[in-house]
Amino acid sequence: MPTRPSQGDVMQSRWGTHGPHPIIVLSPQSVLECYTLTIHAFNLAEKYRSPVIMLMDGLVGHMWENVQLPEKIEVIDRPEPSVPPDWYNPYDNLPGGEIVPLVPFGEGYRYHVTGMVHDKSGFPTLVHEEVEQCLDKLIYKIKNNLHDIIRIEDYMLEDADICIVAHGSVARSAREAVNIARNEGLKVGLLRPITLWPFPRFHLENISKRVKMFVVPEMNYGQVYGEVLKSCPKRAVRVTRVDGELVTPAQIMEKIEGAAL
């Protein structure tokens, strides 16, 4: 469906390339966030030497709205190498998993970059110990920094019985649904993963201790819903829509009101 919104690529963004690998995926919900998260995406890419995907649904990508740009923007510049060229190896394993900065080409630090699985000197390898080391390193540099990478936003979650989990444009409908529900006296809150991958499963685990159930609206058949189920054993229901129209607050309310608590 060209030009129609959908969120069918949640899994594509995570698993769309070969092999076991980590990836960072950000999901903006507004025009302002498209701006701020793009800068954030570059910051993360510089810091973790990892591709970062800005995953926008059709609505967020095509939307026009007024924005007030932030006065201060954090920009993380690539750190300078701490050693001379002869000592430099961009694939060094530093203690504590510290990430070696990648020096731009042309500054006297010559090295090899490959898209293949590589050994400690950066050249393709088929030696299985080296393959495992390479992949482990890629995985753990993200896994060990989840606290820094994962961003979420919560709305009226403190005393909530029901937690809506929604990202991108659907999160805007979800927020409105929370307002409607609160007016009706229902204790509903919203968790919005801004970082979609790595998935904020520890946040969900914590919230699951307080809430009775999750409601997961999304414009697909339940890709984030599956992740919610994986993250915690709590009851979860999905609100799906795949016809190119938005999930409305009323649709979410229907599920909330229908849920026998």
Binding site: F105, G106, G108, R110, V113, T114, G115, M116, D119, F123
Partner: protein
């Protein structure tokens, strides 16, 4: 005694990257030798050169040579190279691709790099086959020639790489073969010095995947075939159409002056109120 001061050894990486992956009789080593001699002739230092390659037999060249090297995904070498050039226009970027890499998977990148006339040097090693992956036919496999995926002969008309890039607007187009190694040296150094998008097609024998299937004989026979069928461009033009047969022109086919992408881009930057790229 071989000394590391000899041209070839000066540029090879002595690490564990050897032995190389190329089969006995393969022409890519000759092409790599020509590239090294050409770079030596231009006088650029190792730090001023970026060697970008794609995937395949020729893609491994970046592994063996001691420059800033980038071994990219299949077909995308020109895109990575374009990014590097825009990030640092001072760098001299040489992109090594095979025929499959450059004209099939990366075919669009090739034609648009020509159209943009971005200041890169593309070295296309044409061995008429996908060698590394098992001898599948490529866009330059001649009609009726056999490949692992064309057991009864290819039924597709092959690309003439030089004609293709000329039509798309490249500033410098030349063709040589592994038999004409010295000519290849000279063309590559001209291409590296040339401002704008330059393409050198190096015809190179693949005795294992292509030659064996098509009864082309030994690597020497295949190189002799290059010798016997190549003619200079002016002589080639004199052959009446329809009488060409298997002959092909070698030498410099296009060498024109035209503004390159960065020149036009810096004008736009100025127009938009900026002062540098």
């Amino acid at each position: 005694m071989i000394r590391t001061s000899e041209t070839m050894y000066k540029y090879l990486r002595p690490d564990k990257t050897f032995p190389h992956v190329w089969c006995p009789g393969c022409g890519i080593g000759i092409v790599m030798g020509a590239l090294v001699r050409a770079i030596e002739k231009t006088g650029f230092t190792k730090d001023e050169i970026v060697l970008v390659s794609g995937i395949g037999c020729s893609g491994r060249m970046s592994t063996y040579l001691d420059f800033n090297t980038l071994h990219t995904t299949h077909g995308r070498a020109l895109s990575f190279a374009t990014g590097i050039k825009l990030a640092n226009p001072e760098l001299n970027i040489i992109v090594v691709m095979g025929d499959g890499d450059a004209t099939a998977i990366g075919g669009n990148h090739l034609i648009h790099s020509c159209r943009r006339n971005i200041d890169l040097t593309a070295l296309i090693v044409n061995n008429n086959i996908y060698g590394m992956t098992g001898g599948q036919y490529s866009p330059t496999t001649p009609m009726e020639h056999k490949a692992s995926t064309a057991q009864y002969g290819s039924i597709e008309k092959p690309f003439d790489i030089c004609k293709l890039v000329e039509a798309c607007g490249a500033s410098f187009v030349a063709r040589s073969t592994t038999y004409h190694a010295k000519m290849l040296d000279a063309m590559l150094s001209r291409a590296i010095d040339k401002k704008g998008f330059s393409v050198v097609e190096a015809m190179s024998q693949c005795p294992v995947q292509y030659g064996r299937r098509n009864k082309k004989g030994s690597p020497v026979d295949m190189m002799m075939w290059y010798k016997n069928n190549s003619i200079s461009n002016p002589a080639f033009k004199k052959i009446p159409p329809g009488e060409v047969g298997e002959q092909f022109p070698v030498g410099i086919l296009v060498d024109i002056e035209q503004p390159d992408y960065l020149e036009r881009y810096s004008k736009i930057v100025k127009k938009a109120g900026g002062d540098k790229l």
